[in-house]
């Protein structure tokens, strides 16, 4: 086990904790940058999708993992971003401007939804967000002049400075750049006073309030940032799917997004990324698994949501810290190799926490 011995303030500000971190992230950057050279278009598309999910994951992680507010309605923000972007593009707005427009609109709406959240806590918020999801879905269906209703809406291909990049490399780099920016933004946000206020608010609202954290302000901020990032990802998502229909942005999708952060690992950026990889890869895994299962089980229509549910339940029961938590445990096991203690990560015994 290594303990970084900090000798100056610069080290505290450093994004990488040690030189080995620097090496591994450098290697990862190299692999990701060179990917279009040695990976075919299909997998490039899949990786871009994971990046998009990753941005949503980071957005949701800020809200749920750091500020402790549950949202079962993030597909709505994704949809708002996607529709705004597509509509702006169809009106001839340049790519970057419409991207900013989509982000801005979902940020505003996010702040609006965050507002009732100030008065209610915990479960009420979960209910408010899923009600919001249904309302937004309704608007997508009914506002036919704008959204095309049930029949859907074709998205114009992305074009930047007169260069069009529909498939493969170009779009991949846009997504890569976006997720890197999102991560940097979030890392910096989390060590700013705002980020620390969010974490304080998650751990104990009352204590945070006593220390002068203004709940109203920070909850709304968390909602707005989270919705903004999700809306931004939604704009990219619109290009990824190419054709928008209201039945994509349902509560099922919201729950899938939430599954992403829970399975990935609550309260860490790594968790959001791991979760995105996991959820992005899951349909493929299920498709592969189907080949090995007997037909009577594999051809069942309801199997996919069932697997989602099962994974959710198993994660919460057996590894509440998600994939990232498990990864930390494995890492710890090897770094202290013969001296690993079973109790190193065990939780304190806990009793029912009362909200009354």
């Amino acid at each position: 086990m290594r303990f970084p011995y900090k000798t100056d303030y610069g080290q505290d500000l450093d994004l990488f904790k040690s030189s080995s971190d620097r090496f591994w992230y450098g290697l990862l950057a190299l692999v990701l940058l060179s990917m279009p050279l040695w990976v075919d278009t299909f997998w490039l598309g899949e990786v871009s999708y994971v990046f998009i999910l990753g941005i949503v994951g980071i957005g949701l992680m800020i809200l749920t993992g750091y500020a402790g507010q549950v949202s079962i309605g993030h597909a709505a923000f994704l949809g708002i971003g996607a529709y705004t972007h597509a509509i702006l593009l169809s009106m001839g707005t340049p790519f970057v401007v419409s991207l900013v427009g989509a982000t801005a609109l979902s940020t505003l709406i996010g702040a609006g939804v965050g507002f009732p959240a100030l008065r209610v806590a915990g479960i009420y918020l979960a209910m408010a967000t899923f009600a919001f999801n249904f309302l937004v879905e309704f608007v997508f269906v009914r506002w036919e002049s704008m959204t095309g209703g049930f029949s859907g809406f074709a998205v114009a291909s992305p074009e930047f400075l007169g260069v069009s990049f529909t498939s493969g490399g170009g779009f991949y780099y846009i997504c890569l750049l976006s997720i890197v920016l999102a991560i940097l933004l979030t890392l910096n946000l989390l060590r700013s006073p705002t980020g620390r206020a969010l974490i304080a608010l998650r751990d104990s609202e009352t204590a945070a309030q006593a220390l002068g954290v203004r709940l109203a302000r920070y909850k709304t901020t968390a909602f707005a940032i989270s919705a903004g990032l999700t809306g931004f990802a939604g704009a990219l998502f619109a290009h990824r799917i190419g054709y928008l229909a209201p039945d994509i942005f349902t509560i099922m999708f919201s729950i899938q997004l939430l599954l992403m952060v829970v399975v990935g690992g609550m309260g860490s950026i790594h968790g959001a990324i791991f979760g995105a990889i996991f959820v992005g890869a899951l349909p493929q895994l299920i498709a592969i698994m189907r080949d090995y299962l007997p037909d009577s089980v594999a051809r069942q229509p309801g199997i996919e949501p069932g697997i989602f549910g099962l994974l959710l339940v198993l994660t919460i029961l057996f590894e509440p810290r998600g994939i990232y938590g498990r990864w930390l445990k494995i890492k710890h096991y090897f770094s202290v190799f013969p001296m690993h203690k079973k109790a190193a990560f065990s939780r304190q015994k806990s009793y029912t926490k009362s909200e009354r």
Partner: protein, 290 residues
């Protein structure tokens, strides 16, 4: 006027179902502070179990009714004892996610066992109608209202007069004190889950002749949240009144507002209540203690 009374009668019937589901939430919430997002799925399972008893085993309606309620009560008891008890003490978020996950599993399981085709639910009074002052009232609607009233009276008497019911009240008011007085709190909680599962089964069987039995029934559970919140989460009379109000709001908005608003009226009401009066009609949201 006749149209409005017709809508109100129909709204009263669906509202009673919302009331029963909301009652299930509230019972569990009052006792364990868990919010059960799978209540609608329990309702769906109850209806499926009953339909199996009737169609496959050829039992009579009343026998199937009682057996399905017992099966669902036992199932919910097991659910609490095996799964939900493990997350006590974890943040509320975990419980929400856990019950959502369980709901998904139940729905997938129901699809695997019973398929995607909806079942017609045969009840002895399925086709009967009465006309009162120009308003057509189906006997199914009457059965729902009567069933709700009977069930609520039984539950009221149970909580008021039986030793077990009083122990349940004690456990939900103060776990520790109840424990010191010799109340087996864990078993009581599982029993409350059992009651809640039984209530869900009753609701499922009552509404089944009206809707057909398939896995979209679980969506009723989400709408019932609106009922529970409107009445003030944690208040039993509130849940009952809230459910009936939501049922009526839904019917009336479906007829008099824009097309399709029936589907979202409950959710819109939910948001409005949270915005304007988060404590609901009957509830009291206290300050959170540290």
């Amino acid at each position: 006027m006749t149209e409005l009374s017709q809508l109100i009668v129909y709204g009263l019937a669906t509202g009673c179902i919302y009331s029963l589901i909301a009652l299930g939430f509230v019972l569990i919430y009052k006792a364990t502070e868990m919010v059960n997002f799978a209540q609608g799925d329990l309702l769906m399972l109850g209806a499926f179990v009953a339909v199996t008893f009737i169609l496959t085993l050829g039992l009579s309606y009343w026998l199937a009714f009682i057996l399905a309620v017992i099966v669902m009560a036992a199932f919910s008891y097991g659910l609490d004892a095996v799964v939900l008890r493990r997350v006590i003490g974890q943040p509320q978020f975990s419980v929400v996610m856990l019950t959502i996950g369980l709901g998904f599993i139940f729905r997938a399981g129901a699809t695997m066992i019973w398929g995607t085709e909806p079942y017609n639910f045969p009840a002895p009074f399925s086709s009967g109608v009465s006309v009162v002052g120009g308003v057509v009232i189906s006997h199914v609607a009457i059965s729902i209202v009567v069933g709700t009233v009977v069930l609520c009276s039984i539950l009221w008497a149970f909580f008021r007069f039986s030793k077990l019911g009083v122990a349940m009240q004690a456990a939900s008011q103060n776990q520790l004190a109840a424990y010191y007085m010799g109340v087996p709190v864990k078993r009581i909680f599982s029993l409350i889950w059992a009651i809640s599962g039984g209530v869900a089964a009753v609701a499922g069987i009552l509404i089944a002749p009206l809707t057909l039995v398939d896995n979209t029934m679980s969506m009723l559970g989400l709408k019932a949240f609106a009922a529970a919140v409107l009445g003030g989460f944690g208040s039993i009379p509130g849940a009952l009144v809230g459910g009936i109000l939501i049922g009526m709001i839904e019917q009336v908005s479906g007829a008099y507002f824009i097309d399709g608003s029936k589907d979202i009226a409950a959710y819109a009401t939910l948001l409005l209540v949270l915005l304007l009066r988060p404590q609901g009609l009957f509830g009291a949201v206290g300050r959170k203690k540290v």
